[in-house]
């Protein structure tokens, strides 16, 4: 599969379909990979593919430094491809501006990432070209998809509050979570605005609570659960639990799951006459 990937990348660069390939390269230790940006056909050997390819490379579609490199081909797993769908729907990228090099995937991470346990996109749902053998995308039942919430949902209100208080108290406000998130693409994040100061910039209880909750809310109905935010959090806050909970609520209330189709209607920005909420009308 690695060879096939390299060959595709080489072709795309050689025939000038794209200027750069966003892919995975060898990391600083064997248990890691790292994002690489291949601009020359002779460098395609730097591309790799293995179970450590956890990154959701679509985050580099938002960064000026990597945008500067020219039209990209981007290597995406099924989950990452869901991000592309959201980015397209939210008008962050144009379809013709990215070449999507999908890879079929059996799961990444060691141990296997939680998201992979209930994966229903082993084969990306959007791509220009596919590398790897096509796999069936089996529908996973609702309960199974949100199984990681089971323990958490058993907690009482007070326990939940205490749980998050403890978790958020660790936050150092490094913003790795939002910087890594491909769907946190605002030029100026709400935490960087001070007129008014919506969120205290201090990493104390109040500031951390408002930051983490706001971040999660801004991703509600949008987050595709790539788990990148949780992976990069240096203090190990289970952000995924929060995102998953909101995703579950969004699905329950709006029957919506982001990133499955370019033709559906976004949960958070579609107005409907028959909306059940009175204040909308």
């Amino acid at each position: 599969m690695i060879e096939e990937l390299r060959k595709k990348a080489e072709e795309l660069l050689k025939n000038d379909t794209v200027k750069v390939v966003f892919g995975y390269g060898e990391g600083s230790v064997p248990e890691r990979t790292r994002p690489v940006f291949i601009t020359k056909p002779e460098d395609v050997n730097k591309l790799t593919w293995n179970k450590y390819c956890v990154y959701n490379l679509t985050t580099y579609l938002k960064r000026q430094e990597t945008r500067k490199l020219g039209k990209p081909a981007i290597i995406v797993k099924g989950c990452d491809a869901r991000t592309i769908i959201v980015l397209l729907k939210e008008c962050q990228i144009k379809r013709e501006d990215v070449y999507i090099l999908g890879v079929t995937c059996d799961g990444v991470g060691d141990p296997l990432a939680t998201k992979c346990e209930s994966c229903d996109v082993h084969t990306p749902r959007i791509y220009d070209d596919l590398v790897g053998e096509k796999k069936e995308n089996k529908e996973v039942p609702f309960e199974e998809r949100y199984a990681e919430l089971d323990e958490y949902e058993k907690l009482g209100e007070k326990e939940k509050w205490e749980f998050w208080q403890k978790q958020f108290s660790k936050c150092i406000k490094c913003y790795a979570c939002s910087n890594m998130c491909p769907l946190c693409f605002c030029d100026r994040c709400i935490v960087e605005k001070n007129q008014p100061q919506w969120i205290d910039s201090s990493a104390h209880a109040r500031g951390n609570l408002s930051w983490n909750v706001t971040r999660a809310y801004h991703l509600a109905g949008r987050c595709i659960n790539c788990e990148e935010c949780q992976r990069v959090c240096p203090v190990d806050i289970p952000l995924n639990l929060l995102n998953k909970k909101l995703a579950k609520e969004a699905e329950k209330n709006f029957d919506y799951r982001p990133g499955y189709s370019v033709d559906d209607e976004l949960a958070m920005s579609t107005y409907k006459e028959e909306d059940s909420q009175e204040f909308f009308k």
Binding site: V29, T33, P35, T59, E65, K173, A176, V232
Partner: protein, 336 residues
């Protein structure tokens, strides 16, 4: 002064410290992390790690702290000094690289004028370091002039000499006093202790780094190496020697605090003028600042490298930016 400390005395030691009015901070395991935290007794202490996830920095320069409080009443302002921030403590079981970060940071917090929030905590806290008996591939203390059993910055240094024994060496008067205070837990050291110290490979030659930096403010390597960097604050916040901060006010209608918060040069906003003009407008420039500050600017200004080789920045980097790899690259470039 040299002594011997048996692991089975940790209990008595921590209890004794508590009795003497010390707060004790030590490595504690919590899920996937090992963090330096306050402990109540020795059973909480975990010593089976390479290095703690958090650095020693936060005990001297917390992620957020009040530097002034005030009350507001119409146009009358009353200011109040923060108190009680320097608590008599012992940090037990930190690593030599972390300990060395303290004298390195003393320089910036004391040149010209002194930051009392740093200085008073420095005075109140005693550092009992444990030499590293293992390392990982991110460690590079030996490349920045340190060693897994370096003493600089510690008040007391413990080095493993058998499965449950540590050689105790006092480094400063403060350390000596602490050992005297806790005399009963220590015994006399063996004549020729077998010091179990990790080996850490020297990755680059520090002498070659600065001359290259002197000449290469403009170089393609800055952009090329950093294009995967996502511009977060993880590397600078976990770093024991990064000391940049922000000052902000937080208040209600009647009272407020001025607080000092960690900040870092990898954020876009760090240097941005209110007008929107940004002297460091790309991640390449910001990455260059990080390397330059640590291996050139600080050296010129304070005669010390602003990096102790702990490897934390590389371990946490979401994009696997590896600082020693960058320095190895510089060494290669310098040899060209």
């Amino acid at each position: 002064m040299e002594k011997l400390l048996n692991k089975n005395k940790f209990d008595t030691l921590i209890a004794g410290l508590k009795k003497q009015g010390y707060k004790t901070v030590a490595p504690k395991k919590d899920n996937r992390l090992v963090t330096l935290e306050e402990v109540q007794d020795a059973s909480e202490i975990s010593l089976d790690h390479v290095i703690t996830n958090n650095s020693i920095k936060e005990f001297f320069f917390p992620k957020t702290e009040k530097i002034l409080s005030y009350t507001l009443d119409k146009n009358k302002v009353e200011m109040e000094e923060p108190k009680g921030f320097a608590v008599k403590s012992v940090i037990f079981g930190t690593r030599p690289c972390d300990a060395f970060s303290l004298p390195v940071m003393d320089k910036v917090f004391n040149w010209d004028c002194s930051d009392k929030f740093w200085v008073e905590r420095r005075e109140a806290i005693t550092i009992v370091t444990i030499s590293c008996d293992k390392s990982d591939s991110y460690c590079f203390c030996t490349s920045v002039g340190l060693a897994p059993d370096a003493k600089q910055g510690s008040d007391v240094l413990l080095t493993k000499i058998s499965n449950d024994e540590y050689l105790v060496e006092t480094v400063t008067e403060k350390g000596e006093n602490l050992v005297k205070e806790m005399e009963s837990v220590f015994s006399d050291p063996p004549g020729t202790p077998d010091r179990q110290v990790a080996t850490v490979e020297e990755k680059f030659d520090l002498k070659k780094i600065k001359p290259w930096l002197d000449d290469n403010f403009e170089h393609d390597v800055w952009d090329e190496f950093s294009n995967k960097c996502i511009g977060c604050g993880a590397c600078t916040f976990v770093c024991p020697t990064c000391h940049c901060f922000d000052i902000v006010d937080e208040c209600t209608m009647t009272k407020g605090d001025r607080v000092k918060n960690w900040d870092g040069c990898q954020f876009t906003m760090f240097t941005m003028h209110t007008s929107g003009h940004n002297p460091r407008s790309t991640q390449g420039m910001r990455w260059r600042q990080r390397i330059m500050h640590k291996f050139k600017y600080y050296v010129e200004k304070f005669d010390s490298t602003l990096c102790v080789g702990c490897g934390r920045c590389s371990r946490v980097c979401p994009a696997d930016m590896n600082i020693s790899e960058m320095l190895e690259l510089i060494e290669t470039e310098a040899g060209k």
